[in-house]
């Protein structure tokens, strides 16, 4: 995870310097993640989720220089997003606890940053919808260099060659990346699922 934060710090430093490409990469990488994060927490309302994400980015961009790399950048962004989500529920006159998800519990949030070992019987404990949500949460908390290749291969069905092309590396390197990504996913999922 330390390596992840190092990459996150570099991205933020480039943002602070005014690097336009870093700005585009920042939004492109974190918009889908934050949207998925918000969507499941605002009653699956697409328009509200979009509003929440836009408010999150608006707030974040004025404070981006305060990111210190003490947590993953996505985790840091989620704290802003949670605030916006809570504001939505306050405006609706409801409590934020109504959207409390398993992955929102302090233990699970800590576990998303830690390691564990995935066992088959972990999976059997969850309903399909809950399982899917956990999978997305774990994918979004993985380093981008792991989360994206896993999505491309197992959800979008891309070949290793196509993944290699997207990553700008050889097929062998892409295979190696996928192996490490699968291990990271297994560890992360086991941790958040309460192994």
């Amino acid at each position: 995870m330390r390596e992840t934060y190092s990459e996150d710090r570099k991205l933020v430093r480039r943002l602070v310097r005014g690097d336009e490409r870093a700005f585009d990469a920042f939004v492109d990488e974190y918009y889908p993640r934050l949207y998925r994060f918000a969507y499941t927490r605002v009653g699956r309302d697409e328009a509200t989720a979009e509003d929440v994400v836009q408010s999150t980015f608006t707030n974040v961009i004025s404070k981006i220089g305060s990111y210190r790399g003490e947590a993953a950048l996505f985790t840091w962004l989620c704290t802003f997003c949670r605030y916006e989500i809570a504001a939505v529920w306050r405006r609706r006159g409801r409590q934020g606890s109504e959207v409390e998800l398993l992955e929102d519990s302090p233990d699970s949030r800590a576990a998303l940053e830690t390691l564990g070992v995935l066992q088959e019987n972990t999976i059997a404990r969850f309903e399909a919808e809950e399982l899917a949500r956990l999978v997305w949460a774990v994918l979004d908390h993985l380093p981008i260099s792991y989360g994206n290749p896993l999505r491309w291969k197992y959800i979008q069905g891309l070949s290793v060659r196509e993944i290699a092309d997207r990553l700008g590396v050889s097929s062998k390197a892409a295979e190696s990346r996928l192996t490490r990504a699968r291990q990271a996913f297994r560890d992360g999922f086991a941790a958040v699922a309460g192994e």
Partner: protein, 353 residues
């Protein structure tokens, strides 16, 4: 215990097929989860449109604040020691640079130097002037930068999080991070920067080579750079940002000499020794460091700048901040224009404290 003993009977359908390599379980989880909520089309573009201008504003404000910090602590001292002598006609060229070793000129923070066959040493701001042996590995940690002077007089600046090896007086290997080479100020040319993605050779210029995220990024501020990648060779002109990834995919874009991404190079710019130099000479240095062209209000102002000699020091000041400290002592002022500094006579009213 087999995997199937743990799975409900109907899970096999929703998990789908298995990857025999290792990811069977992971594959089934991801396949079962599916793509997740559909991401709104154009959503990221809408976010960019909404926050790009505020972000640019934040960057500009932060840059101004950093410059104020630099100037705040040192401008007063600089202003006290800058004096002006007007002479009939004297325009000295740049002083010759004589050096037979690579030296540390500026350290912003602490850098690591590992000479060949030796252990790591740490050099800081007080170690300016230290000789760095050929073959040394130099590393700048996060938020630490440095400027070295190569034996040909070129300025080699290291951004933070950079690792380079000084192979010889004209060749360095960039492992990661970014370096900026400036052969202005009468220095020699022909320094090459070797990377895993190719070798960039300068042909009288200022340029940056950055190796991050498996992408080689070359920005040419002034002059020309040649990049050799195996049998391929590219000529990169000033004003061009050239990128190539591990598979050889090339993209190019234009970049101005005053683009904000050059700003880090000023933070470790070696101080210009103004003592006995003409204001014109000093302005040429400002132009080289900031990327701004210098324009004179009229030929008389240009002649004046050439005949004024400066005394004192601007050491420690950010190059972009120095005109406001130096020029008023010469009866001149600098007005910022897009990509340029307009040098004019200081209005009488502006001379008032």
């Amino acid at each position: 215990m087999s995997e199937n003993n743990h799975m409900p009977r109907d899970d096999s359908a929703r998990f789908g097929g298995r990857d025999p390599a290792d990811g069977g379980l992971v594959e089934r989880l991801l396949t079962a989860a599916g793509p997740g909520p559909e991401i709104p089309e154009g959503g990221a573009d809408r976010i960019k449109a909404a926050i790009r201008a505020p972000w640019r504003n934040e960057v500009a404000v932060a840059a101004r604040q950093r410059r104020r910090l630099w100037a705040g602590g040192l401008a007063a001292a600089a202003a006290l020691i800058i004096a002006v002598v007007v002479v009939p006609r004297l325009h000295r060229g740049d002083l010759p640079i004589e050096a037979d070793a690579i030296t540390l000129v500026v350290a912003e923070g602490r850098i690591e130097v590992t000479p060949p066959g030796s252990t790591v040493s740490f050099l800081g701001p007080d170690d300016a002037g230290s000789i760095i042996p050929d073959g040394s590995l130099v590393r700048t940690p996060g938020d630490h930068r440095a400027a070295l002077r190569l034996t040909g007089g070129q300025s080699l600046r290291l951004d933070d999080d950079t690792v380079v090896r000084l192979d010889s007086e004209r060749s360095i290997s960039l492992d990661s991070g970014a370096v900026y080479i400036s052969s202005a100020d009468g220095a020699g040319t022909g320094v090459e920067v070797r990377t895993a993605f190719g070798t960039a050779t300068e042909i009288g210029t200022q340029f940056e080579v950055r190796l991050e995220h498996d992408i080689l990024d070359i920005k040419v501020r002034e002059g020309l750079v040649s990049l050799t990648r195996g049998a391929e060779e590219y000529q990169i002109n000033h004003g061009i940002r050239f990128s190539v990834d591990g598979e050889g995919a090339v993209t190019t874009a234009s970049i101005t000499s005053w683009d904000p991404t050059w700003a880090w190079t000023q933070g470790v710019a070696p101080a210009f020794a103004i003592e006995g130099r003409s204001a014109l000479s000093y302005l040429e240095w400002v132009s080289a460091e900031t990327g701004l062209s210098v324009r004179f209000e009229n030929s008389e102002v240009e002649r004046t700048a050439a005949t004024i000699l400066l005394h004192g020091t601007i050491e420690g000041l950010h190059p972009a901040e120095t005109p406001s400290a130096v020029l008023p002592t010469c009866g001149l002022s600098a007005v910022a224009e897009p990509g340029a500094l307009l040098i004019a006579r200081l209005e009488a009213d502006n001379n008032e404290p």
